[in-house]
C-alpha cells in the first residue's frame, strides 16, 4: 500500500516492520521525526520495543552496543553532531561484531553551524568498521532498513550498518512509499539469533583488553568481515528483489551506462536528479551515464573498475570536503581506478545544503565530457562557489 510519507517516517516504519526490540534514542534535527514516530509506535502498542530516551548520543551508542551484545535487535538514528558525539562508541561497536542498525540523516558538522545536508558527518566514520549505504529516495530508505538487518546479522558479516539519507531533501520530504506487509518482511527477515551473547547460562567475555599479540588479528578479522559484506550485500539485494520486486543493484547501481562515453559517480539524492539530466542529455545525443555509489563501506572498488572501464572521463560528485584538495569519495574512487588512464574530475557541490540543480548536474556532465575530449578541466571543481572559476 502506498503511503505519502517523509523519509524519516519511512525509516521509522522500516524499524517497526523489522520487529526491532530495543531503541535507545536522542533527538537531533533532521533525524527527530524518526524518533518521534517510533515513540508513537511504541506508545500506541504498534511496536513491541524497549524505547529508551538517553542523556546523550554517546550513551545512545553505549546502550545500543550493550543491548546488541545481550542479543537484542537494536535500532537507533542520529545526525551530524550526534554522530560526532557518539564517535567513540561507534568505533567500539564494529570490532565487537554487534549488528546494530543506525540511520544517519546527513547534516553538516559545525562549524559553521548548519542543519542542512552534507556528508562530512558519516564520512568521519569511514574507518570505524561500520557499513554505510546511501539512498536516493524514501522507498530506498525504508527498504534499506529492512535489508540492513539481513546484511548486518548475516553470520559472515556481523557488523553494524549505517543507512544514510539526505537531511531535509529526504528526511522532511513526502513522497509515495510502498509499505510492505509485515508478513512479507517476516518471511524475508528471521529473528536475530547470535551464537554468543551476554547470557548468564553461558558466561562470555565480550570486549576484553587485547594486548599487541592479539590486536592485529582482531583488526584483520574486522577487515575480513567488511570484505565479506560485499557478497552478502549482493545476495541480499537479489533476494529482496525476488520478495519485494525492487532491485537496487547491490553495491552500485548504473543508469544508461551501456554505450556511455563518460560517467558521473553520484551518491544520495543527487543520483535521482541526475537520472533526469541523463535522459535530457541523451535526447541531445550525448552519451552520458551514471554510476550510483550505494555502499561506501564496503567500498566497491572492483565493481567501479568494471563499470567504468573504457570511459573517456569520470566525474565524481562529493557532497563533503576533506580539506586536502578534494572530497573523500574522489580520493577513494581515484585510488580504486589506479592504473586506468581516463581523467577523473571531482565535482564539489551541494555542501551544507546548497541545492544541486539539474543545470548544475548538466554542467558537471559537460565539464567531464570536455575532459574526455582532452580539454583543460580543473581536477577539483568547487561548483557555484563565489570566487571560484570553473
Amino acid at each position: 500500500m502506498k503511503h505519502v510519507i517523509t523519509g524519516d517516517h519511512a525509516v521509522a516504519i522500516g524499524a517497526k516492520l523489522c520487529r526491532v526490540e530495543v531503541v535507545p534514542a536522542y533527538p537531533i534535527t533532521p533525524q527527530t521525526l524518526i524518533i518521534e514516530h517510533i515513540a508513537e509506535f511504541v506508545n500506541d502498542g504498534e511496536m513491541n520495543a524497549k524505547f529508551m530516551t538517553m542523556e546523550s548520543e554517546h550513551s545512545v551508542m553505549s546502550a545500543a552496543a550493550g543491548a546488541s551484545a545481550a542479543g537484542a535487535r537494536v535500532f537507533t538514528a542520529t545526525s551530524s553532531q550526534g554522530l560526532a558525539f557518539m564517535h567513540e562508541m561507534v568505533y567500539a561497536t564494529a570490532p565487537l561484531r554487534l549488528p546494530v542498525v543506525m540511520v544517519n540523516v546527513n547534516r553538516s558538522l559545525s562549524s559553521p553551524p548548519g542543519i542542512w545536508v552534507e556528508y562530512n558527518d558519516s564520512m568521519g566514520e569511514r574507518d570505524s568498521g561500520w557499513l554505510q549505504v546511501y539512498v536516493e529516495d524514501n522507498q530506498e530508505a525504508l527498504d534499506m532498513v529492512i535489508q540492513s538487518y539481513r546484511i548486518a546479522e548475516d553470520k559472515r558479516v556481523l557488523l553494524p550498518i549505517m543507512p544514510c539519507l539526505d537531511g531535509f531533501v529526504l528526511s522532511h520530504t513526502v513522497e509515495p512509499v510502498d509499505v510492505p506487509d509485515e508478513s512479507l518482511v517476516d518471511s524475508f527477515l528471521s529473528p536475530y539469533e547470535p551464537d554468543v551473547y551476554l547470557n548468564p547460562e553461558q558466561p562470555a567475555v565480550i570486549g576484553m583488553l587485547m594486548p599487541p599479540q592479539y590486536f592485529m588479528e582482531m583488526r584483520r578479522q574486522t577487515a575480513g568481515a567488511v570484505e565479506a559484506a560485499k557478497e552478502v550485500v549482493v545476495e541480499v539485494n537479489r533476494e529482496f528483489a525476488k520478495v519485494f520486486g525492487r532491485d537496487y543493484g547491490g553495491l552500485i547501481d548504473t543508469y544508461r551506462m551501456e554505450d556511455a562515453q563518460i560517467a558521473l559517480i553520484t551518491i544520495g539524492t543527487v543520483t535521482s536528479t541526475a537520472r533526469k539530466v541523463v535522459d535530457d542529455m541523451r535526447n541531445e545525443g550525448k552519451k552520458v551515464g551514471i554510476v550510483k555509489l550505494r555502499f561506501f563501506r564496503p567500498f566497491p572498488a572492483e565493481e567501479l573498475r568494471a563499470a567504468l572501464s573504457g570511459m573517456g572521463a569520470v566525474g565524481v560528485i562529493d557532497r563533503s570536503i576533506s580539506y586536502n584538495g578534494g572530497g573523500p569519495i574522489f580520493s577513494e574512487v581515484r585510488s580504486a581506478l589506479y592504473g586506468m588512464t581516463m581523467p577523473v574530475i571531482n565535482h564539489l557541490a551541494g555542501i551544507g545544503g546548497r541545492d544541486v540543480t539539474e543545470n548544475l548536474i548538466m554542467t558537471m556532465f559537460e565539464l567531464t565530457l570536455e575532459a574526455a575530449k582532452g580539454g583543460k578541466v580543473k581536477e577539483v571543481i568547487w561548483h557555484e562557489t563565489r570566487g571560484e572559476t570553473l
Partner: protein
C-alpha cells in the same frame, strides 16, 4: 650501545629503575633512553622495562631482545620467566636474592651479582620497594655507570618527585646494596619449560573476540580462566590470622580485592587461599581487632 632489561613486578619500581639508570648515564655525558612495556597494569604482575645507553643519539625505538645486562627485581620470577632469554654470553645478571650467585640456577652460566635488595629496602626505606637498591648492585656488577652517578640520579629523580629526604634515603639504599652485592658465576642447569601461549590466527579468533569458557593447548581461556593463574609468588608478605582474636566480623572477607578469603563452614570459619593472595595487606589493615598479621612470604 649497552642494553639493559629489567624484570620486575608492578609496584616494585622497575620503570623508575630503568629511568634512573638512564639519568645516571646522561649525568656521565652519555645518551640514554628508558621505556616500559606494560601488560595489563596491576600491582604484582610481571612487568618489563628497558634502558639503552650509548655515546651518541639512540635511534632504535624497539624493545631490547639481546641485552647486555638483565636485572631481576624479584627472584620469584625465575620460576615462570626465562629472564636470561637473549642475554649476550658475555653479559651479566643482577638479581634480588638472598642466595649467592653460585647457588642461583639461571639456566645459563653467566656473570651474576646478587643482593638481598628486599631486606635492604625494608631496612632503609621501610618498604619492599627494591628499585633503588638494585641499581647499586647494577653499578657494582656492570660498571656501566659509577655508584656516584647512580646516587646523584636517584637524588634527582626521587628527590624531585618525593622530596629531598626520600631521595637521600634511596641513595643510601643503593650504596648499601652496592656494598653487599656478591658476584660470581650462576648455575646453568635448569631448563624452563616454555609456557605455551594461545595465539589464534585471525580466522581462529572467536568472532568479535568474544570468549566463552574454553580450553586450548595453552590452557583455559574466557570466564574462569584465572583459576590457572597462580599468583602466590607475587606476595612479599602474606596474612596470617590469629583465630583466638578473630571475632568473625568478616570485614577481611568483604574487603579482599581478590576474593581469596573463603568461608569454609557454616560457622563461618575463614581460610585464605594463598594461591591467589598477592599480599596487599588490605585485610590486616581493615581488621578492627588486629587479628591479622602480615609476615614475610619470602626472605
Amino acid at each position: 650501545m649497552f642494553e639493559v632489561r629489567f624484570h620486575g613486578r608492578g609496584g616494585q619500581g622497575a620503570v623508575m629503575a630503568a629511568q634512573t639508570l638512564a639519568e645516571a648515564a646522561v649525568i656521565e655525558g652519555n645518551y640514554a633512553v628508558a621505556f616500559p612495556f606494560f601488560g595489563a597494569e596491576r600491582r604484582g604482575a610481571p612487568v618489563l622495562a628497558f634502558t639503552r645507553i650509548d655515546s651518541g643519539k639512540i635511534y632504535s625505538k624497539t624493545q631490547v631482545y639481546t641485552p647486555d645486562c638483565v636485572v631481576v627485581l624479584d627472584d620469584s620470577l625465575l620460576d615462570t620467566i626465562d629472564v636470561v632469554a637473549g642475554l649476550k654470553p658475555d653479559g651479566s645478571v643482577v638479581i634480588n636474592s638472598k642466595d649467592a650467585p653460585t647457588d642461583i640456577d639461571l639456566g645459563m652460566e653467566v656473570h651474576t651479582g646478587a643482593v638481598n635488595a628486599t631486606s635492604v629496602a625494608l631496612e632503609i626505606l621501610k618498604a619492599p620497594i627494591t628499585n633503588t637498591a638494585i641499581l647499586g648492585a647494577l653499578a657494582k656488577v656492570t660498571g656501566i655507570v659509577s655508584i656516584e652517578s647512580i646516587e646523584a640520579a636517584i637524588k634527582r629523580r626521587f628527590g624531585e618527585k618525593l622530596g629531598e629526604k626520600i631521595g637521600e634515603r634511596n641513595a643510601v639504599a643503593a650504596r648499601t646494596a652496592y656494598e653487599r652485592t656478591v658476584t660470581g658465576k650462576s648455575m646453568g642447569v635448569k631448563r624452563l619449560e616454555q609456557k605455551k601461549q594461545w595465539l589464534p590466527t585471525h580466522q581462529e579468533l572467536p568472532v568479535g573476540g568474544a570468549l566463552v569458557a574454553g580450553k586450548t593447548d595453552a590452557g583455559l581461556i574466557g570466564p574462569g580462566s584465572f583459576t590457572e593463574n597462580n599468583v602466590s609468588g607475587w606476595a612479599t608478605f602474606r596474612p596470617v590470622r590469629d583465630r583466638e582474636k578473630c571475632t568473625m566480623c568478616l570485614l577481611c572477607w568483604f574487603y579482599c580485592p581478590e576474593g581469596t578469603i573463603v568461608r569454609i563452614s557454616d560457622k563461618g570459619d575463614l581460610m585464605t587461599n594463598y594461591d591467589y593472595c598477592k599480599g596487599c595487606g588490605i585485610c590486616a589493615n581493615e581488621c578492627p581487632v588486629d587479628a591479622i598479621k602480615m609476615v614475610r612470604a619470602r626472605v
